[in-house]
Symmetry: C2
Subunit: 713 residues, 2 copies
């Protein structure tokens, strides 16, 4: 038996999980510090565990209902099905996808809530001791995301791989399962974290003037829990879903090549897995190489890791292309066109990340001007920050557009004139390339909330100013990394859903609609597109209003505790607030609020499809992509820049802490919180879910929709 190159993907995934476990052991061996630190860490861990347990329980019911519906209707309605085993297969794969997504999130969360006190403790030995604890804590999450993701796809594909017609719905169902869970995890975590953050800040910082993370504040533990369930578990789920979707979209378009072209095997469905495996190896090397000296700069270390990973990915995929490419049966040198598409995507991703960085950096015009405008009051802080947020969308949009167009044109000549199948496959490979190094970007990103929490632990347990300063430095590097990852994540989601739209078109073609186009001047496409433009807006509104409602309940509770617990405000020794009550309010509220928005997005997609037909559905996806890219970029960047404008003022500029400018900047930061951590990033997942559900139900919708029934279309 010769070695099948396809096996490289599951092998890389296992290696990734093993390295993750190695990092986990490293974290476990670190000391968690004194009793007070251990207690805080335990409270955070428990709060997070309670939330995740309750969230997953609630979701289990919802997932079961969706799985049932999938089983009844897909791939054929049971009453028409020739093989009922197939109707059993898809719901199982769907639940498996959801399970993998939950698992990756859980692993990351578990480590993150352990690592915070360990980072704080290590910081007593200096920056170079604390940094690896924080980074490797994040890397457990990063490597789990790609490892579990690629392993899951490999298992599904390996078990259902032939005939390819069967593998397509299976990998789609896996991806849809992952995305459903991610959507709820992201929205739920996002509502939780911002409820706690806003409430803690508004009562603590603004009304009472006590510092952030002050142990007297009843919401402080809920705030720390929120960082973990929102930024670690939520963000991990978000990128898990984009990552899986990008691989799946490329596999489906590759499978379509196998079906449409003669003499082409399954190879084009396997190349995405191969490239993804190289991304994993690159991310492992990158993660192992990240380190910082005693006087080093953690931000530079994180960025260096990104550049190393990017370079290794380019080299490794080039080697694979060189070695295996000739067996792909492409016109002479054609394999390099596929490689080129992936590289274009990755480079575009890095460029998008860097431009987001510009709009949120403390030494660049957007943050400086916003901070300066704060001197004239909160209103001008908001207007200025919001305007720069609006301005920030253009370059990433151009980056996505150019990456898609270049990848398309590079791969177009691989097929006969007039056949665009390789060209859209090129777009999917560009999306995959952009997401290939997700193992590292998630590591960088998850590092952020860990060190942020470490700072919280250090402050609450009264460690020295010097130690707090070290955790502060670690934290500010985390903020920059976060801005870059967000740009990356939005860009990648954009390209991925464009690839999914192409996959959707392929599936429609395979079902007897050969010339399906999404012409904007077609009234049904236009109808769908205009409704689609509204969906991300309504979704964002619903989650943000959820944060607002939830925060109002929590603010009332915090004020009550300060009023009714004697000695709390004054910080009398031994007097403790009721942390658990605030954790409970955040949990219950987030669970109540996370469902309606997500269900709305799913239901609108199905209604537009089953009423308006396949063209309206294509339009809906297109409109939603445009509007969610706009809103996601706007909200993420505006939120980030308000945050940093406030930090800049706190560092002493434009009046410094406690000045009127500072108060104005706090308003901007609070507005930005749900923008950047609840609504903005959830949109990535929302649009992926919409695309996947449309693709999965495409076959059914083509057969059964109201307009066809009424003979209007």
């Amino acid at each position: 038996m010769t070695f099948d190159p396809w096996l490289i993907a599951p092998i890389s995934a296992l290696v990734s999980i093993l390295v993750g476990l190695y990092f986990l052991r490293y974290i476990n061996k670190q000391d968690s510090g004194n009793e007070r630190m251990k207690e805080i860490s335990r409270l955070i861990k428990e709060g997070a565990a309670v939330f995740i347990r309750r969230e997953y329980t609630t979701l289990a019911i919802f997932l079961a209902v969706v799985a049932l519906l999938i089983g009844i209707f897909l791939p054929q309605p049971v009453w028409q099905s020739s093989n009922l085993l197939l109707n059993l297969e898809l719901p199982v794969v769907y639940l498996f996808g959801a399970f993998c997504s939950a698992l990756a999130g859980y692993l990351g969360l578990n480590v993150a809530t352990k690592a915070n006190a360990k980072v704080a403790n290590a910081a007593q030995g200096g920056l170079n001791k604390a940094f690896p604890v924080g980074f490797r804590g994040g890397a457990v999450m990063g490597l789990s995301v790609v490892g579990v993701g690629l392993l899951g796809i490999s298992i599904v594909f390996g078990l259902t791989g032939l005939p390819i017609e069967q593998a397509v719905p299976a990998v789609l169902a896996f991806s849809f399962g992952a995305s459903t869970l991610s959507l709820f995890a992201k929205a739920g975590g996002g509502i939780y974290t911002k409820t706690a953050d806003i409430s803690a800040d508004l009562v603590g910082k603004v009304e009472l003037g006590i510092p952030e993370d002050d142990p007297r504040n009843p919401a402080v533990i809920a705030d720390n829990v929120g960082d973990n369930v929102g930024d670690v578990a939520g963000m991990g789920a978000d990128l898990f879903d984009s990552y899986v979707a990008s691989v799946v979209a490329a596999m489906i378009l590759g499978a379509a090549l196998a079906l449409n072209l003669t003499g082409v095997g399954l190879i084009f469905a396997q190349i995405p897995l191969l490239f993804a495996a190289m991304g994993i190896f690159a991310a492992i090397v990158g993660a192992l190489s990240v380190r910082v000296g005693p006087k080093g700069n953690p931000g530079n270390a994180l960025n260096l890791g990104t550049y190393i990973t990017t370079s290794i990915f380019i080299v490794l995929t080039a080697i694979v292309t060189w070695q295996l490419g000739p067996s792909w049966n492409l016109p002479s040198g054609g394999e390099w066109r596929l490689w080129g598409a992936a590289v274009v995507g990755l480079i575009a991703g890095v460029i998008i990340g860097v431009t987001s960085d510009y709009f949120t950096s403390e030494d660049k015009a957007p943050v400086l001007k916003t901070a300066e405008a704060s001197k004239t009051g909160a209103a001008l802080n908001i207007i200025t920050g919001y305007s720069y947020g609006l301005r920030s969308v253009m370059l990433p949009l151009i980056g996505i557009a150019v990456a898609a167009a270049v990848a398309y044109e590079i791969c177009l000549p691989l097929a006969a004139a007039g056949d665009t199948s390789f060209a859209v496959y090129g777009i999917a490979l560009a999306a995959l390339g952009m997401l290939s190094i997700v193992g590292l970007t998630v590591s960088n990103d998850a590092y952020g909330p860990i060190v942020d929490n470490a700072k919280g632990v250090a402050e609450q347990s009264g460690l020295s100013e010097e130690v707090i300063a070290i955790t502060d430095e670690l934290d500010s590097a985390g903020n920059t990394a976060k801005a870059i990852t967000k740009g990356f994540a939005i860009g990648a989601a954009g390209l991925t859903v464009i690839a999914l739209l192409a996959a959707f078109q392929e599936i429609a073609r395979a079902n007897g609609i050969p010339n399906l186009t999404f012409d904007i001047m077609d009234p049904f496409v236009l109808l769908g597109a205009l409704i689609g433009v509204g969906v991300p807006a309504v979704f964002s509104a619903m989650v943000m209003l959820g944060v607002g409602r939830n925060a109002e309940r929590m603010i009332a509770e915090i004020r009550r505790q300060f009023r009714e617990i004697p000695g709390l405000k004054e910080g009398k020794p031994g007097v403790k607030p009721d942390y658990a009550k605030c954790v409970d309010i955040a949990t219950v509220g987030a669970l109540r609020e996370l469902m309606p928005a997500s269900i709305t997005a799913i239901v609108i997609t199905l209604i537009v499809g089953f009423v308006g037909g396949i063209k309206a559905l294509g339009g809906l996806l297109a409109g939603s992509i445009f509007s969610s890219l706009l809103l996601a970029l706007l909200m993420s960047n505006a939120g980030g820049l308000w945050d940093n404008a406030k930090k800049l003022i706190e560092s002493g500029k434009f009046g410094g802490k406690g000045s009127d400018a500072h108060k104005a900047a706090v308003v901007g930061d609070t507005v930005g919180d749900p923008f950047k951590d609840t609504a903005g990033p959830s949109l990535n997942t929302m649009i992926t879910v919409m695309s996947l559900i449309a693709t999965l139900f495409a076959t059914l919708i083509i057969k059964y929709n109201l307009l066809t029934y009424l003979k209007i279309q």
Copy 2:
């Protein structure tokens, strides 16, 4: 010589202008009150005149440059032109369009700045005496807009009407001229008015706690001037441009029918003029019938006028269709399909207006919840209001989408199967229908700033509380009318640019690209669309940052005056602030800031066209339409609801004037100011200008663009 029904359009336009003059004479006969009132009115009039003079002078240079470029390149570059007279014709028509737009704005402004004191004076005799002065003052503007607009088109069409190939670029150039001027007038006026408004409020209300319109405030005159140049002249220009563009788009699509189908005369280019004429007659009757009793409700009176006008339009166009329809040579009863499309558009417009009203009404959930959230501070006021703004976009988008789809389907059967030319003509007629009653909606809208100013005059000249209460009641009716008009204007602009996109496609077809579609999966369409999504965001950012910068300068000046002029703050008799200085700052700043954003939008359109070709340009327009509808609806509605949440609190709810909730609501209102009065409404005009420039240059771009030159496309 028999009577040509085509002549009805210029006749209706002349009648409209005559009725406008009759209202003007009525206004002139009213008494302006005591010396103090006359002086304030004179100051406002002078300030507005200075701004308009300087604005038009600046624009004249820009318009001359554009006219020169048009002359050189259109319809053929001069070095290839067979008939140089044609190269002379378009710039002349372009300048004529700009002149007509300026004229309509000037007439409205002139009356509005006279009417304010007269309304205040009449209010001493009761509500029923003051109301007609305010309404008829606004109606001068409303009737001028439609009269001058339709007369201008009629003249251009009458002089160039045959051959039809020549009339198309001519009416386009006229519309483009009108839109260029409107864009600058809207952006310039919008920046002016919000600079003054924000600065006056922030220093006066927030810092010093003196009432709005207090004569001690150095910015009070600039603020009143701003209402006129922004809300009267700017808004009039905005609707002038949408109105003209909707008629022109329908004419072009009608002309295309004449060219493509055999046996069809010019009639389909003339029907839009005929329907527009019926709209004018309906608006005249509506305007003459608006009145209110001594204890009447001015808001109801305005709404009744809208319903009357709508009904009359439906009846008049039905009569025209019944009388003339049989001569249109359509399949039996086909003329009623065209009528149906226009009526669908109008009804959709009314529905959109009513839903915007929901989101900005003081007794509905959005405003109530936003006001309530203010109790928890400015941040939650902003988050809540913004979220409701996001939510408000869905229904109008569905309204536009359904109107377009229904009009399309109604008219589709008029052509042979597979031919969509009548269907897109139907969309254009729906846009025209929605805008047909503009004569009345502008009257209602211009009424708002007049009575707002009347209230200012009453307060500054110390009229009795009773009189001020009457002006207050008039004002609040104006706010509701304004919200409805804005929804109307955005919906109409959306449908109009969709029709223009169809016209753009027609022109491309006529130039040898028969099967031009804008398929989202085409990489060039996608490239254009993604860039297009960014354009309205960047445009909005530029004008809002312009307001921010300008306001900072003005705030510094107001603070200086309060600091340096002895006795000003205390209101010592005889001590007057330097109003002129503030007027000057607003003027200079607005002129400096209005150019860059507008030029950016125009230049991006041309670059995308000449680089990416006709498909990228189509994509750009589509992307811009989607994103500008989203942003315009969001910003207008959020702005309106913040304003009313503040008013609700000022009326005594949730803590009332001076409470913390009130301060928070003032922040929201201030953020909403540039949203609703600068950026939001300018987007309508921006997208119309982009569509017109693309359509005008389509022929040239098809021949000369980089991608075709490089043989990539």
